[in-house]
Amino acid sequence: MPLLAIAVLAAGTFGFRLAGPALRHRLRMPDRVDRLQAAGVAVLLIALAATSALTEGHGFAGWARPAGVVVGGALAVRRAPFPVVVITACATTAILRLLGVP
């Protein structure tokens, strides 16, 4: 991994990050766009949660990980404290793997 590759990745990544803050004050967003963009973030994060829960590379991640996420998600819906949600999700996945579930 050459230093140049790292530098290009860093520069590009920073460009993605800076575009919003740099342009935001010049562009006056209509409320509709604001709402759409807030929805866009929610859609992205949920899609990221779904793909990282269910898939690994180009295939299925196995049952243990999504099972843990579902248990954690159910607790979150019931307004369980954040640490409980995360620890239960991890513990569920770990125990299932210990039992031989992929």
Binding site: M1, L4, A5, I6, L9, A10, G12, T13, F14, F16, R17, L18, A19, G20, P21, R24, L36, Q37, A38, A39, G40, V41, A42, V43, L44, L45, I46, A47, L48, A49, A50, T51, S52, A53, L54, T55, G57, H58, G59, A64, R65, G68, V69, G72, G73, A76, V77, P81, F82, P83, V85, V86, A89, C90, T92, T93, I95, L96, R97, L98
Partner: protein
């Protein structure tokens, strides 16, 4: 000094639950960071590679993706492309948090660099602008410190960390995201768009390069294109 004063204000602005949640995320990400450092060094890369990458790229998923391509024998160009594809989701995040970064150019530069899934998710989960700002900066700064220290430690420890999957830590990231976005899903339109987007993203994952499927999920926003019948505002 300025940052220290600001940080103390942020501490007082956020409730204990949020601070505890941020700490949990930092711990979980630190474990991921340590494994990143270890994976790189175990794969034959010099320790400066993961550590410098973590400082200037500071986006875990793309770091794993880029190093994964290189360790699998791919070219540096393919590695950079994979990383950038994954990080293109930071573009809409930037617009989402633009108002939280302050007016000075250097706080905007610093804030931009601290824009991550986690800092954005914590920010949008807060009920008012002051708390959104506090959550964004607290999470961003804490995560930057934890992530870089952990990657360095992992690179040093290299072989000491075994398979983190055995501890179910891979379930932490999706569970965290789900929990953080939950309040936004109270809006029915957003909920439907997110559901459609998630199904779409998972369905195309086998066929598309890593990083692209979550972006494709944005197609779910078509459900919001129609003017909603005076839906109650959320947040």
């Amino acid at each position: 000094m300025f940052i220290l004063v600001d940080m103390r204000t942020f501490w007082r602005t956020l409730d204990r639950g949020t601070l505890r949640a941020i700490a949990m995320v930092c711990v979980a990400d630190a474990v991921v960071g340590a494994s990143f450092g270890a994976v790189c060094v175990a794969g034959g890369l010099r320790p400066w590679v993961p550590t410098s990458m973590s400082l200037i790229v500071f986006a875990g998923g793309s770091q794993f993706a880029a190093v994964g391509v290189v360790l699998a024998g791919g070219s540096p160009v393919a590695a950079v492309a994979a990383g950038l594809l994954l990080n293109s989701r930071l573009l809409p995040y930037g617009f989402a948090v633009a108002d939280l970064l302050g007016g000075r150019w250097w706080t905007r530069l610093a804030g931009a660099h601290l824009t991550t899934d986690e800092s954005v998710a914590f920010a949008v989960g807060q009920p008012d602008p002051a708390r959104r700002r506090a959550a964004f900066w607290t999470c961003g700064i804490a995560l930057f410190a934890c992530w870089n220290l952990a990657v360095g430690a992992g690179a040093l420890a290299a072989t000491a960390i075994g398979n983190t999957d055995a501890f179910g830590l891979d379930a932490a990231f999706p569970a965290v995201l789900l929990t953080l976005v939950l309040p936004s899903l109270a809006d029915r339109g957003i909920r439907h768009a997110a559901l459609l987007g998630a199904v779409l993203a998972v369905a195309v994952t086998p066929f598309l390069p890593a990083g692209l499927p979550p972006l494709l999920a944005l197609a779910g926003l078509v459900l919001l294109a129609r003017p909603a019948p005076a839906a109650p505002e959320v947040g």
